[in-house]
Subunit: 175 residues, 3 copies
């Protein structure tokens, strides 16, 4: 199937839901030059393995990869161009990084919200839905899922399409 | 949009999913006098802050607030009246309170199920979906999510409409 | 309602979501002889109670029960027959058992994927969606939810219908 991306797209899903593969397919079907903005940082072997696994899966398929753990909005502005698709994978890792560095989360979210309507690239955001389990006992984890939930609302509001992915299957929530 | 509420409505969602804002909009669009039944109790500053935040968001918009952590069904019966909307926020905090006080959960759920078809108010229930993460190691947490899941089934069965909210977007499950 | 089952069906849902009851109804409405393949093993009283509760709920409704915690694919092959419905409850307990016994998970998933298109029985799989909460601190729990997510993608791809159940209500994701 060919899917045209008319505005920002948000792809939400759980762990191993197939959300990234779905988002990559969206971009690959757009026919546009493909840019991948990775927000993840490897802190241990498990993460290094995951990042390498994802990179390998994209290799040879024509993606240009950028890595930016913190200044997501600045990086999006720097690579913004018409007739270009940019996949951001993922928003939840960006939130984690902002929290670890003690950044002003509300200001970052506002900056992203302000950028979205101006973007000339076709943006696709991947993020983990993390708010559907028991309240975490860990205070940082509670703050993290609050931030993530708020960010999803901010991005969804400015997005043309929102998908919830489970078992590799997309459910359209908006668009 | 104007939404008519023909029978009980259940609004399920995760943490920071926008479920309460969606439920409030449903009630505000009904054009009926608006009653808010808060089940939460503040045990620490974090909760006091959340309750105050929600209250402030409703302030000046014409809501009458009631607080009842345990006797939800009794309170619903006391304020029940035709041409009145009552928003209950939220069922999961009610379950928490019932557990903490050692109440007969099954009896409470049955009493609520019995009341729903008789209610003359337009009822809107908000609740947290908490069963989509890993099985909690904590035994109380396991019991809590079992109770919450059962209650959602009971209320959904008697409801005219059921919504699942993620990223601020409602997905209609029933109605 | 009568529901015809044309190929494998996957029923995903959270804890106490009503997923098993929905799957049982699918099979009971098929009009076919009903086989129940239980993958769970009781390790403590809580689990023994749950298994007994589910068994009691099926009793007197004409189900033949099989128990197989590990060799799911072998057991499915042994009882495979046309004009027969087989309900597997549930995939997540199977994954747990495979992990505890140190089995080759990838090989087991491949064997199941290979069997699905050949099956002559009408297969209905129940499984817990466990990937929508905070990343678990426990390493085994992280691996478990990764395996479960991958298995759901494998089974969903080969299934004719996929449902997500919440509050007892099915949402069709595929079919």
């Amino acid at each position: 199937m060919t899917v045209s991306i008319a505005g920002p797209v948000l792809v939400l899903g759980g762990a191993r839901s197939g959300k990234s593969a779905f988002a990559e397919k969206l971009v690959e079907n757009s026919g546009l030059p493909m840019h991948y903005l990775a927000t993840g940082r490897a802190f241990d072997d498990e993460m290094r393995e995951r990042i390498a696994h994802h990179r390998a899966a994209r290799s040879g398929r024509g993606w240009t990869t950028h890595e930016e753990p913190l200044d997501l909005v600045g990086q999006l502005r720097r690579i913004d161009a018409p007739d270009r698709a940019v996949l951001v994978d993922c928003l939840t890792l960006w939130v984690t990084n902002l929290m670890m560095e003690g950044r002003d989360i509300a200001a970052e979210f506002s900056a992203l919200a302000a950028f979205l309507p101006e973007a000339r690239s076709r943006l696709v955001f991947v993020s983990n839905e993390v708010g559907l389990g028991i309240v975490p006992e860990n205070r940082m984890a509670r703050h993290f899922r609050d931030h993530a939930g708020r960010l999803h609302q901010v991005v969804a509001e400015k997005s043309a399409e929102v998908y919830f992915v489970a078992a590799g299957l997309p459910l359209k929530m908006k668009g």
